[in-house]
Structure formats: C-alpha cells, structure tokens
Amino acid sequence: MTETTKEAKYLQALPKREIEEARAMIKAASVKIIEENLQRMRKTWPRRPKEIEYFDEIAKFSKREEELLKAKEEGKKVIGYFCIFAPIELILAADAIPVRVNSGWYDPAKFGDRIVPVEVCPVIRSTIGAKMVSLSPYLELSDAILSTLTCDGMTKLSEIISDSKPVWTMVPPRIKDSAQAIRFWSEQIRSVKKKLEEFTGNKITRRKLKEAIEITQKATKAFRRLQQIRSGPPVIMGRDVMLVNQTSMWDNLERWTAKTEALCEELEKRAAQKKWACPTDTPRVLITGTPMFWPDNWKLPAIVEEATPQGIIVADELCSSDRFLYDPVGVDEWTENDMLNAISERYLMASTCPCFTSEDGNEDRVNWLLNKVKEAKVDGVIYCVVHGCMLYAMEYTRIKRALDKINIPVYYLDTEYTREDVGQIKTRVEAFLEMLTARIEV
C-alpha cells in the first residue's frame, strides 16, 4: 500500500503519549458504560431471556475483536463500512469479513473537533476522533473501508479516513426512479466486486456469491422474525431488540442468525404464556432519525424505557437497527448477472435513507413509517436528530405532516454526542409519554 508514504490531507499525528492516554481513558470509560447499559437493561426488565446473554457478550466488543484478529492472522481481510449501502454479500463472497465502523463513543468527538468544525455531525466527528486515537477495534482492524457518500458528512469523512486506510467510495444516486440511476448504481456494485477480488486475491465465483446471498437471506429471515415479535404485545423491551439488531453489524452473521432464531423461539414461548416484559398498556413508541450507535449513544432508548411513565420502543426506523437486515436480496435466477442485479436493487430500492428525493419527496420513507405505525400499533413517534445531521433534520416537517394526517403525535428531539443533556431529554420524553398515556386513557 502507498498510504504510508502519502502526505496526510487532514489527519494530524498526535504525540504518541497523548494517543495512548486518551485511548486508555476512553476504553476504560467504554467498558464501564457498556456494563452500566447492560445493568440498566436488566433492571428495567429483570426477567430477560437466557438467549439474550449471547448478544450482551458480543456487545462487549472484546470477543469479536479477538475473533477478527485471529481471522486476520489466518489471512482473511476485514472490510469496514460506514453506511448500510455496503453490499455485505460481496464482502462475504470474497471470503472477507464485513464490519460496521461508525463511532458511538462520545469522548473521541473532541479530537475530531481539531480537524473539522463543531457544526459537523458528531457521528462524523467522533469517528474521526476514534481514528486519531486508534479507539475503535473494528475501525482499527479494517484492512479497507467501503464508504457510501450518502450525506455531506460521509463524503468528507471518507476523504479524511483515507489518510490512514484504503477507502473505496460508492455514490448512491439521489433519485431511484430512473433507468440511469439504477445503471449508475449497479455499475458501482460491479466495480466494488472487482476491487474486492483484487484486494483479497479471492475470485467471487457464482457459487461463492450464491452462498453469501443465502447467508444474508437467512439472516434477514431471523431479523424479520424478531422485528415481528417486537411489534406485537410487549414480550421484549425495545432497547434489547435494538442491541440484538446492532450486533448483527459486527458479529459472524451465520452464528448471529442461529442465536437470533433461538431467541425468537424463547420469546414466542413467553408470548404464548403471556409473560410480558412490561404492562400491555405501556405507550408504544417508534424511534426514527439519525442512527444511534452503541455504547454511548444509547441514551434515548434508555430514557424512553426507564421513564415515568414508561414507554416501550416497539419499532424503529434507524439504519443502526431495524433497517439493517430488513430487506432480502430477491434473486430470480442464480446467474452471476442476476445475482449482481438483485444485490444492486436491494441496496438501492429498499433504502429509506433521507439522502433520496423524488417529485413526491422521499416517499419510500414516508410509506415505510406509515406502515410500521399501523403494523406495530404505535402510539407516538420520537424523531431524534443530532446537531449537524441536515438530511434528517430537514425531512422532519414532511414526516410530521404525514403522521399528523393519521393522528399520530411526533416529537422532535435534538441532541449531541454528550451526556450533559440527559436531564433535559428526560423531561421532554416524559412529557411526551405523559401525553401518549392521556391519549390511551381517552
């Protein structure tokens, strides 16, 4: 690789001592916050199912980190990605390991502030900071990054991270309903395939690709089964589902699928015995907006489900959770060409990212939300945006109008990568839940 000889465009080399001190400090805080988050989840729901313990383990990072290290020693490549447009089937088919690398830690954002202004979205600033102090095990272990230029933040983040690692970019078209757009996207899928083959030295054969698609199809089945259970009577708390969903972005997907099916099994038994995780008249909340990453940016799910009155998150429309594996790759004929087309379509057409627009606005997102509200019997929506997340912030008015029409209250919450606003958020969320409770009683 040539990156070592390249002059850095953005990143600055921090003194080694500063990096080590910062990393040690943030890592120690991270271990604490993970343990605290899990404790709080157990406190809210004392009778958590046995099968969920596996996901708690994965959420602690170290198990998976060791596995990735071992795989790398055996010659496997790790491919990191930021947005869920990255075609993980192709990564798997090249015998490489896909892993999502966005930072959910609050503290590294202050290092990112040395490179970009504070007005920039904190997910971006924190990911830059995580790179500067080598904090994120997954980002560090990635041999290359597959980055989709969905928003302005992601576009420049790719440039910044390319100071330290090979970064391959993909550009999603901003409109879906044109022949050029699909062609434009599907050509990029094909060029990523080539890059992966060259980088790993493994040819993506028809058989390999078919196997990889079957792995994600099975994962999608398990994923959907879990979301289905979640959207029924409250047999599992929403925060717990969100953690299971998020671990699918780091874990071995086949093992994750088996464990998720086992969890669903246990939950269905509980549902049959009417063993609920909270009272059945608890206000049912859907969360949408900027993705929320483990472990620090877990404050909103925690506040909602620990609030007085309590709420339960029965669905979310987050690319860090419900949206990730929701849609299957639909293949008609298992030819290489058809499979690649099916992958292109699945990543483009099924996405409800606010980077898209059309004459009617981002209709797919509106419809997804309206359907989910109906299906999961949602009482109210919390639309949560971090400062600097322009696309989600701007689309709020459109979404609110659509929800107003079906008489579903929606609350707009703005926050930052900080712990200081927890008190204020709690006040607002509790007022919103109080309002939903009053509506349920009437």
Binding site: P409, Y412, D414, R428, A431, M435, A438, V442
Partner: protein, 262 residues
Amino acid sequence: MITAGIDVGNQRVKVVILKDGKVVARGQAFAGFDPSDAVKHIFSEALNEAKMQRSDVAHVTATGAGMENAPEADSTVSMMGADARAGVYMIPSARTVIDVGAEEARAVKCDSKGVMVDFVVNERCAAGAGAFIEAMARALEVNLEEMGPISLKAERASSINANCVIFGESDVVTLIHKQESKAEIARAIFDAMADRISAMVHRLGIAPDVVLVGGVAKDVGFVAALKRKLGIEILVPEYPEYTGALGAALVARSRVKEAVKE
C-alpha cells in the same frame, strides 16, 4: 378539597394552594443552591398564609425542571402538562399556551379540557428566555423591570442576533458603540427573542386563542414584540409566573378525584 402545586423552576420555586378549585395562597422564592430547602420554606409559608397544616392538603404535585427536589410532593407532572392544564383553567378559550421562563421557552397545544396534544421546547440555549433579558439589561445598565417600558418608546427597529446570549451581548455592545438609544436597543432585544419564540410556535402550528405565561409574560416589552411577530392577539392571565404551580395543583386535584373513583 385542598391540593397544592409546587413548580421548581430553574430560577424560582413557586407554590399554589388550591381549595375547592380556588387559589387560596401563592408564594415564591429563589431556588438558589439548595432548591429542596427553598421548597420546604416557601411551602410552609404558603400553608401559614392559608392558615392550614400539611395534613389538610390531600395531594401535592410537583413540576418544573427541578421537580425531583420537592420531597413534599406525592406525584409529579411534566411542565408542559401543567401549562396546558392551568392555561385552559385561567383562560378557557386557550388552545396554545406559550410559557417563557428564566431559562427555557416552550409552547403547548391543548384541548378544551386542558389536556396537552402537542408541544415544542426551545433549543438548548437560554437566548430565547428570561435570562437573556437579564443579561441584556445588565449590558444596558437598566433595571430588569424598566426594560419593557423603555422598549415601547423606540421609534424604529434595530436588529441583533439572539441565537446565543454571548453573541447577543456583543451585538448589543456594537449597537451601544453606534450610539443607538436605549429604547431602540431594548426593542431590538425583545424583537430578537420574539423571533426565536415565534419560529418555535410556528413549528408547532398556532391554534387560537394564544396565551402567554411564565415570568417573562409580565414584561410588556416582550408581549408587544411577540404580538408584532405573530400578528395575532396574545392573552396574558393574571399571575402568569404561577402557571406551572397552578397546573400542578389542578393535576393534584384530578388525581385525588381519580383515587376516590377507584
């Protein structure tokens, strides 16, 4: 039936005692460094004024940013819920209640029963709230109470930035250096605040009648500015700063009635 509401605000603690739906005592004190002490003190003073004992009060409900600092309370209610309840109680035609306090501004939509149906809160900055007027009064070297009346004397409008208290203050200093009159600067301050609050209310959608409450509702300068910005009539009830406490006392009343029913 006797109930009480305690509003533990960012700056002041307010107490209202309600007997058979009528206010019999009000009291307020600085929250200070020990809000729970302030609560204790002002609550017992209000009880004295009403010639009552704590045991005469059937239910106490707390509200406000520091509601957890009121151990006297039997229950709590959100600030928005309290605003809606008291707004409609004081002015039955109220459907939008705007509450501008020391460090926060919010707007609540409510139905004819005083149940909130939607709400919005200002961004995390005190520039749209009472603390902004206080800081600006200091910069202009006038008393807080004088700010409103002075602003009404302005002959034309200047403009300042009210996105941030600190930047707002530096804008005010710029106007002082340009030798603008105090009246015009005071009006610019209220206009900037009203701009922020009206943008917030517009995001919620305006349903008449609009009622303004909270300590800042007593400031004639701000009321005039908000009327100009929203272009509609704004009603201000008597004792607007006690709205939260009154709402909490009304909620307490409902909770006693509910308990009796059960």
